[in-house]
C-alpha cells in the first residue's frame, strides 16, 4: 500500500515539478545571457494562462458552442494547438517588448537598476491580469479527456492514478527542455547566445549582433512561458492574476537550486521542488511546504553556492 502512495506522490511531484521547470527555463535563459533575474517572467507566464483562457472560451463561443468541453476531438486538438501557438507568440512578443522597453537601456547601468525595473514590470503585469480577469481564481475549462492511463488503457489494477493530463505535461515539458538544450548547444544561434553570455564585447567583435541575440533569448523565454501558461491552465484548471508570483518564486528557486544559467539545472531544480513539495504536503503539512522548499534552497546554497549543476556546463562560466 505504501509504495503505491509513494508512486502517486512522486507522480504528482514530477508533473508539478516539470511545470515549475518550464517557467524556470525562462529565468535561467535570461540570466545566462545578461545576468538579470527577470522578475517579470512569472507574470509573463500568468499572462500566458490568461491568453489561453480567453482563446479556449471565446473561440468556441464565437462558433456558437457555449461549453468548449463538448467540442469533437479533432476540433479540440486544433483549438489547443492554435491556443498554444497564440499563447507562445503573444508571450514571446511581450517578453521581447519588456526587454526593449525596460531592460535594454539599463544594460550598462548598476546591476540593481534593471532588477528594480524588472520588479516594476512584474507589478504592471500583475495589475493587468487583475484588471483583465478579476481578483479571484477563474475556472479554466477541463479540456483534456479524462482518461486514466494505467487502469483504463494499460489495464493494470492499481489505485495509482496516472491520467492523460499528467502524460500531457510530461510529453510537452521534456521534449521542450531537451530541444532547448540542443538548440543552445548545436545551432548557430545557440552558439551566438553562449558567446554573448561569455563575453559580450568579444562576441560583438566576432560579428554577433548583441541586441538581436539578447532579443531572441527573450523571445525564446517568453515562448516557453506561454507554453507553460497554457499547460498550467489545462493541468490545474484554474487561472489567477497572482499565480505568477508563487510560480515565479518557485521557478526562480528551481533555477538557483540547479545552478542559475544552466538549462539542465533548471529542470533538475524544478523536479526537486515539485517532488519535495508533494512529499511535504503528504507527509508533513501543507503549511510547512514553503519552509521545507526554501530550507532546502538554503542548504544547497550553503554547500554548493553555485547550485547543483552550477559548475558543470553553464552557458556562462
Amino acid at each position: 500500500m505504501w509504495h503505491e502512495q509513494l508512486a502517486q506522490i512522486l507522480l504528482i511531484g514530477i508533473t508539478n515539478g516539470l511545470l515549475i521547470a518550464l517557467v524556470a527555463l525562462g529565468y535561467t535563459l535570461v540570466y545566462g545571457i545578461i545576468e538579470l533575474i527577470n522578475f517579470a517572467h512569472g507574470d509573463v507566464f500568468m499572462i500566458g494562462t490568461m491568453v489561453s483562457l480567453t482563446i479556449v472560451t471565446s473561440v468556441p463561443a464565437m462558433m456558437g458552442i457555449a461549453q468548449p468541453e463538448t467540442l469533437t476531438p479533432p476540433l479540440l486538438g486544433l483549438l489547443l494547438l492554435g491556443t498554444l501557438l497564440v499563447a507562445m507568440v503573444v508571450c514571446a512578443l511581450l517578453n521581447a517588448f519588456i526587454e526593449r522597453v525596460a531592460y535594454r537601456r539599463l544594460r550598462h547601468a548598476p546591476r540593481v537598476a534593471p532588477l528594480i525595473s524588472a520588479i516594476g514590470v512584474s507589478f504592471i503585469l500583475i495589475n493587468a491580469g487583475l484588471h483583465w480577469k478579476g481578483a479571484s481564481q477563474v475556472y479554466f475549462p477541463d479540456l483534456l479527456p479524462n482518461v486514466d492511463i494505467l487502469r483504463d488503457v494499460v489495464g493494470i489494477q492499481t489505485p495509482v492514478r496516472f491520467a492523460l493530463k499528467d502524460l500531457f505535461v510530461i510529453a510537452i515539458a521534456v521534449p521542450l527542455a531537451f530541444g532547448l538544450t540542443q538548440f543552445i548547444q548545436r545551432t548557430r544561434l545557440g552558439k551566438a547566445m553562449r558567446a554573448t553570455a561569455q563575453d559580450r564585447e568579444a562576441a560583438s567583435m566576432m560579428g554577433i549582433d548583441i541586441n538581436t541575440t539578447i532579443m531572441l533569448t527573450f523571445l525564446l523565454g517568453g515562448a516557453l512561458a506561454g507554453a507553460a501558461g497554457l499547460m498550467y491552465g489545462l493541468y490545474n484548471n484554474t487561472a489567477w492574476f497572482f499565480q505568477g508570483f508563487r510560480s515565479g518564486l518557485y521557478a526562480f528557486t528551481a533555477a538557483v537550486m540547479g545552478g542559475i544559467g544552466n538549462v539542465q539545472g533548471a529542470l533538475l531544480g524544478g523536479l526537486l521542488i515539485g517532488i519535495l513539495g508533494a512529499v511535504s504536503d503528504r507527509l508533513i503539512d501543507p503549511r510547512w511546504t514553503q519552509a521545507v522548499v526554501f530550507g532546502l534552497l538554503i542548504l544547497i546554497l550553503v554547500f554548493r553556492p553555485s547550485g547543483l549543476l552550477g559548475d558543470e556546463a553553464p552557458p556562462r562560466s
Binding site: L19, S136, V138, N237, T238, G277, D281, P286
Partner: protein, 414 residues
C-alpha cells in the same frame, strides 16, 4: 561571480518586493464641510470592496443605502452621510489588516463619524475593534461569525474577547449568529447526512480555523470519527493534489473546509473531487457566494453549505418585503449577507433616534440597548456581549450551479 551576484541580489529583491507591496495606501480624503441647519453625521462601512468578495459586499452596501434612503438620510435633527470604505487590496484580492486599520483610524479621526458598519471578515474585526473601542465608536458587523470577538466559548483563543477591548467598554455588536452555533450545526448536519468519517481542513484564518475547530469538537462529541484536522491549507498553492491524495488515503465520507472562497476554495474542491468523486463536501457561509461556484466549476456541485440564518428569498414578514423592494430597486438577486447589512444599518438608525445626540458613547450604549428590534431578519435583540438573539441555522446544497435555497433546511445546533 554567480555567488556574489546571488548574495547581492536576492535580499535586495526580496526587500524591494516587500516594500513595494506594503506601501500602497490611500491618503484620507478631507472631510467635507458640515452643512448648515441640521447637524451632519456620518456612518461608515468597512467591507472588502475589491476582489471576489465584491459580489457579496455590493449587495450589502446596496442594502445599507436602501435603509438610509427609506428615512431620506435623516434621523431627528441629523443629516446622515454614508461612506463606503474598502478594507481589501487588489494585490491580496481579499481583506488586508493594514487597510482595515487605516479605515478604523480614519473613522475615529473624523469627528462626524458616529457608527462603523463592518467588518465582513472576522480577522479584520480583530484589527479594528481595539482601535474603535478606545474612541467609543460603535461597530455593527453584518457578517463576522468568529465567536471569540464577543464571547469566551470553547474553541476560542486564550484571553478572548477581552484582548480586543483594552480598558474600554464593549463597542462591538453583530447581527449574525456566531460560529459556535454554525460549526455545531454543520457537524450535526454531517451526521444527519450519514457521514461517519470526516476530514477537516481550514484556511488558517481567524474565521476559518475557528469554525473548523468548533466543527471538529462537535463532531467528536456526537460520535463522528474525525480522521484528520483541522489542518491548514496553503491558500496560494497552485494545486492540492498531494493533500487530496493524503485525504483519500484516510477514506473519509465527508470533507469539511472551514474558510472563505478567497482562500482558494475552488481549486481545493477541484482537486479533492478529482480523486474522490463520491465524497461529500461541506463548508460554512464563507463560501456561500456566487464567486465560489465560479471558481470551483463543476466541482462545486452537491456541496453542502451552512449559514446563520435563511437565504434572502426565504425570509418572511419584513424580510420578504425587503427582498421584494431590493429586487425592484436593484433588479438583481441579493447575496446571503445583504439582509444583514440592511438590519445592521436599520439598527444604527434606530439607535441614533433613541440616543438623540451625536455623542459616540451615547450612540454605542443605544445600539447595545437594541431590544426586540423588528427587522428583516425577524425580531431580535443584542445581548450584553453584543451578540444577536437570533440562533437560526440553515443548510443548502449547490444544485445545477446555484444555491438551492428552495430546499434549504433548518439545522439543529444541539
Amino acid at each position: 561571480m554567480i555567488r556574489t551576484l546571488l548574495l547581492r541580489r536576492f535580499p535586495v529583491a526580496i526587500a524591494l518586493a516587500l516594500a513595494l507591496g506594503l506601501t500602497a495606501c490611500n491618503p484620507p480624503a478631507a472631510a467635507p464641510a458640515g452643512q448648515t441647519g441640521a447637524q451632519t453625521i456620518k456612518i461608515v462601512s468597512s467591507l472588502p470592496r475589491t476582489g471576489s468578495s465584491k459580489g457579496q459586499t455590493d449587495t450589502i452596501v446596496n442594502s445599507i443605502k436602501m435603509a438610509l434612503d427609506e428615512v431620506n438620510n435623516k434621523v431627528g435633527n441629523f443629516t446622515i452621510q454614508y461612506e463606503d470604505l474598502d478594507d481589501a487590496t487588489a494585490a491580496k484580492g481579499s481583506w488586508d489588516a493594514g487597510k482595515e486599520a487605516e479605515n478604523a483610524n480614519r473613522a475615529i479621526n473624523d469627528a462626524q463619524v458616529v457608527a462603523y458598519i463592518g467588518t465582513f471578515n472576522s480577522g479584520a474585526a480583530k484589527v479594528s475593534i481595539p482601535i474603535l473601542c478606545k474612541a467609543n465608536l460603535v461597530m455593527v458587523s453584518p457578517a463576522n461569525t468568529y465567536p471569540g470577538l464577543t464571547k469566551n466559548v470553547p474553541g476560542v483563543e486564550q484571553g478572548e474577547p477581552n484582548t480586543y477591548y483594552p480598558g474600554c467598554k464593549h463597542n462591538y455588536t453583530r447581527v449574525v449568529p456566531a460560529d459556535d452555533l454554525q460549526g455545531a450545526a454543520a457537524a450535526n448536519w454531517a451526521k444527519k447526512l450519514g457521514a461517519q468519517k470526516v476530514y477537516v481542513l481550514d484556511d488558517t484564518q481567524l474565521y476559518g480555523h475557528g469554525i473548523a475547530t468548533v466543527f471538529t469538537d462537535t463532531a467528536k462529541k456526537i460520535g463522528l470519527n474525525v480522521l484528520g484536522g483541522p489542518e491548514g491549507i496553503d491558500d496560494k498553492a497552485a494545486d492540492y493534489r498531494a493533500l487530496a491524495e493524503k485525504i483519500r488515503g484516510t477514506s473519509p465520507d465527508l470533507v469539511y473546509f472551514g474558510g472563505i472562497t478567497q482562500a482558494n476554495a475552488g481549486k481545493l474542491w477541484q482537486d479533492i473531487k478529482a480523486v474522490m468523486p463520491q465524497v461529500k463536501m461541506m463548508g460554512p457561509d464563507g463560501i456561500l457566494e456566487k464567486a465560489f461556484i465560479d471558481a470551483a466549476g463543476p466541482a462545486a456541485e452537491g456541496t453542502y453549505i451552512t449559514f446563520g440564518g435563511l437565504g434572502p428569498s426565504k425570509l418572511t414578514g419584513k424580510g420578504a418585503d425587503w427582498y421584494k423592494a431590493y429586487k425592484a430597486k436593484f433588479n438583481s438577486e441579493p447575496e446571503a449577507y445583504a439582509a444583514y447589512g440592511y438590519d445592521a444599518a436599520k439598527a444604527v438608525l434606530n439607535a441614533l433616534q433613541r440616543a438623540g445626540s451625536a455623542d459616540r458613547g451615547a450612540i454605542r450604549d443605544a445600539v447595545f440597548a437594541t431590544k426586540d428590534f423588528d427587522g428583516a431578519l425577524g425580531k431580535w435583540s443584542f445581548d450584553s456581549n453584543g451578540d444577536t438573539s437570533l440562533t437560526r441555522m440553515s443548510g443548502r446544497q449547490v444544485k445545477s450551479g446555484a444555491f438551492d435555497e428552495d430546499n434549504a433546511e433548518i439545522l439543529s445546533t444541539q
